[in-house]
């Protein structure tokens, strides 16, 4: 807490030295608003914005609400862009969200956060995406009726554009059903950072997993310590070459921690496959042939996770 206090105090002190005065006059807006824009930008893809929540005239907070700035609410003042240009002169770029725009990622995101700050903006600042200079429009598409990043089937590929290693993981043989278009990243992750300064939709890894896997929550009479702490100690949630998305094949996964005298310490080898002297410690479910209650047991005689 002492460190936290120092940081807060330092931040406040620093405010005394900051000046944000900016008395410059801004650029002009177009003369007719959206009508100016639509006189050129009339293709179907562009007009799809009018099928979205950004274009609801009766909502005064929508960019197309009464008295609002229509296209220029997001794209910025378009007076120069829409104005006359001399023959051979390059038409000035619209300030935001278009090829040729010189706005920084932070400035562009500021256009979105002007309205969306109270909904998503605070967590956004706490997350990793702004550090990586991810623009809102890197993920979101506004000029489309159904934004692909908000659809389960298409969202993962949007995320994989940057998270390439995760794509590789999800293409493994045993993975959550991303490839089948039945699960999306936001089922577990919170790309805006949400309110908790993690990238998860719940407070912890286990809270997140147990949304769907509540059977593993317990609390059990006989707990398995790593299960109570963090599911990812044994599981690779993005995908694995091993059934159950386990990080490693049993019994070696279990033997990474268990070394009790007797069978937990035995090096079961290829001789104990079906072609040799088959071992129940190795084949089938391996350790789980007997210790099947690996997530915990609620049986009075279940301390060895067999009941």
């Amino acid at each position: 807490m002492r460190l936290l206090t120092l940081v807060i105090a330092g931040t406040l002190l620093a405010s005394l030295a900051v000046s944000t005065a900016d008395g410059q006059e801004g650029p002009d807006y177009s003369r007719e608003g959206a009508d100016s824009c639509l006189s050129c930008h009339e293709d179907e893809a562009m007009l799809a914005i009018f099928r979205t929540k950004h274009a609801v005239p009766s909502d005064p907070r929508s960019p197309f609400g009464h008295g609002q700035l229509q296209c220029e609410a997001c794209h910025g003042p378009g007076g120069d862009h829409a104005g006359r240009v001399r023959r051979g002169q390059e038409r000035p770029a619209i300030p935001y969200f278009h090829y040729g725009s010189t706005a920084t990622v932070e400035e562009q995101n500021g256009q979105c956060l002007d309205c969306h700050n109270s909904g998503v903006g605070f967590g956004w600042h706490a997350g990793e995406h702004p550090v990586d200079e991810v623009a809102c429009v890197d993920c979101h598409q506004m000029h489309i009726e159904r934004d692909p990043v908000l659809q389960t089937a298409t969202q993962p590929e949007v995320c994989f554009d940057c998270h390439q290693a995760t794509r590789t993981e999800t293409m493994k043989a045993f993975a959550h059903p991303f490839f089948q278009d039945k699960m999306d990243c936001t089922g577990c992750h919170s790309p805006h950072g949400d309110d908790v300064a993690t990238s998860l939709v719940r407070q912890t890894v286990n809270d997140t997993c147990q949304q769907c896997h509540a059977a593993q929550r317990g609390p059990y009479l006989w707990e398995h310590a790593p299960v109570s702490e963090d599911c990812t100690l044994c599981h690779s949630p993005h995908g694995s070459n091993h059934p159950g998305m386990l990080a490693k094949r049993a019994p070696l996964l279990c033997q990474s921690c268990h070394s009790q005298f007797g069978h937990p310490s035995v090096a079961f080898g290829p001789d104990e496959l079906v072609s040799g002297t088959p071992s129940r410690f190795l084949l089938g479910q391996s350790c789980l042939n007997c210790h099947s209650q690996v997530h915990g047991s609620n049986h009075p005689s279940g301390s060895k996770l067999m009941r």
Partner: protein, 701 residues
Amino acid sequence: MNNTHSKLLLALGAITLAPALQAQEVDTSDWACEYCPFQQGHEGDYEVGAGSVSDDSAYFGNATGLDEEGAYGNLDGEGSYARDAYRMVWTVEDLGLDSRAAELEGSHAGKFDYNIGFRQLPYRRFNTTSSIFLETADSLLLPAGWVRAPTTDGFTQLGSSLVSRNIESDRSIYEIGGRYLAGSRFSFSADYRRQEQDGTKIQGGSTYTNASLLPMPFDYVTDEVDFEARYGADNSFVALSWYLSDFQNDNTALFWQQPFTGAAGADTLAQAQAPESRFQQVTLAGGYSFPELRTVMNLSASIGQITQDTEFLPYTTNANLVADPLPRPTLDAEVDTTNIAVGITSRIFRKGRIKFSYRYDERDNKTTQDTWNRVIVDTFPGGGEELNIPYSFERSYLSLSGDYDLFDMLRVSAGYDRRDIDRDFQEVASQTEDTGWGRVRIRPGAGFDIDVRGGASKRDVDNYDEAFAAATGQNPLMRKYHLAYRYREFGEATLSWSPAAAPVSISLMGLFADDEYTRSELGLTDADELSVALDFGWSISENTSLYLNTGYEAIESTQLGSEAFAGPDWRADNKDEFTTIGAGFNMREIGEKFDLQLDYMRSEGTSSINLDSAADAPAQFPDLETTLDYLRVRLGFRQSERIEWNLYALYQTFETADWALQGVTPDALPLLLSLGATPYDDEQVIFGIGFRYKMGAKKEE
């Protein structure tokens, strides 16, 4: 927050919470928006289809419902309705399959929004399994005339008793939620989600010397409720939320008749299954931005409680044994959770950013400890008095980082993280991990980005309590990998190039992590990970594009063990390698009428295990292999503005080599009655045709 609602929040977000846009200074009285095609009315786009599946496949039926050979019908589509500020959108998907889904979202801009949804998610694991057991309620019974024997080769009735029993389940998810906006500052949201999951899973059931793999029926229901009240202003927000997760299990016990010859009286055995539990959590979150300081501060604090009060089974089902009375009839478990997060991000320097975050998580298991005297696998009473161990931990994570733009094209960053974990009842009471990292990001030109980062971390422990380990029967030299000392080096580099002058994008990524457990004599001693990936996209023309992505990942580890219960006398080297490739080609409006889409994916995984034991010559397991191929072609024909036909063809194969299953027939092992699952060797060809019709037309205002 459930998934649907989180999407709604992303989509609607603060449009409805938004402050008025910065329109005050602009005269918009002449902005008539005459050419704005605001649309109203209904519009839908639906596809009725039929298809044919060539072969049964559990693997490919997983999540898709396409697990059985034969024909199927299907309906997909989406639609919307808009009138003034009111809007609805809906989607139906795979209505003819076990993976069907339907979702409706609606909103009245600035007033409320809601969603209703239903989804089914089939889980198909094995269709090659068979069992002798007959299922009744929560019991698995032996077939009439079954002759017990001490080993499987004495099961004379096995062949005639085996009945095919797929290992599969179905999950049905029902969702309903809504949000009410009380003015521009306040909002209240409520979401309810019910998940029903039932089917059959594999469960090992054992005695002292033998085990049976049981086709265990299960029937779970999980109800979740989220409620949130939020106040949002221009520079601040505060939200109070409540979350409930209530898990119900129709079968909190499993009884099965023992097929092996066993101890007298131990003919019917029992296991406890997942206990019913309830988790509640209250969260207070807030944020404040200091625009002049370009600083944002976030706070979140949660308290929660997990309870569980499922009635215990007796120590044993064996009436011939005399067991102690249970200390209490239920566990009456109570686990309290606390989560606190603080984040401050500041750009007080024009060219720099400072970020601080702190997080604290606590799991405080307050369940009462008692002395239990177990019956060992329904065979031997007096297993020894044991105390149940309510594991608790406290975990904190502090992070401080900063970045600075040295030049327009060069940004440097550095950071320090510290993670502390304190645990009860484990070998390590206190553990600390310090991480330092640096990063350089270079932008030599527009669309060209090079990002390199690397660092190191050291995880140390106050003391690895060998006496505690020995008391639990562990070899005192064992160091559990999540508790052990570890030194890690890691790095990542990405290069992306999207030239403005050419319609291509290239991205190359590589990362590594090297973990060394240099103070571990037994257990994991070394672990490495390497991953590289390449993405390429090319928009050849306005209507033609292609993509290619490929990835490689290698995960290696070394662990040491001791059969002699002394120093290390065996070593296992594990290596998992994956190679993936995805490629596709998309052409639209060929001859203005046809669309062609082609997607191909291949995923290869190989896991090799080398075992080097002092007692035997070095030996290598046969490689565990998985090979997945997938090729899909879609040809679309636009008959008219409203009518479109689609032809689909899909070819997919999944081949595996898995020594854990290969040849493990139900009686392959003398002391294990298995279900006989075989390694996957699945192939499917699917043809489909779809008739797509666009309904309705929104009228211009």
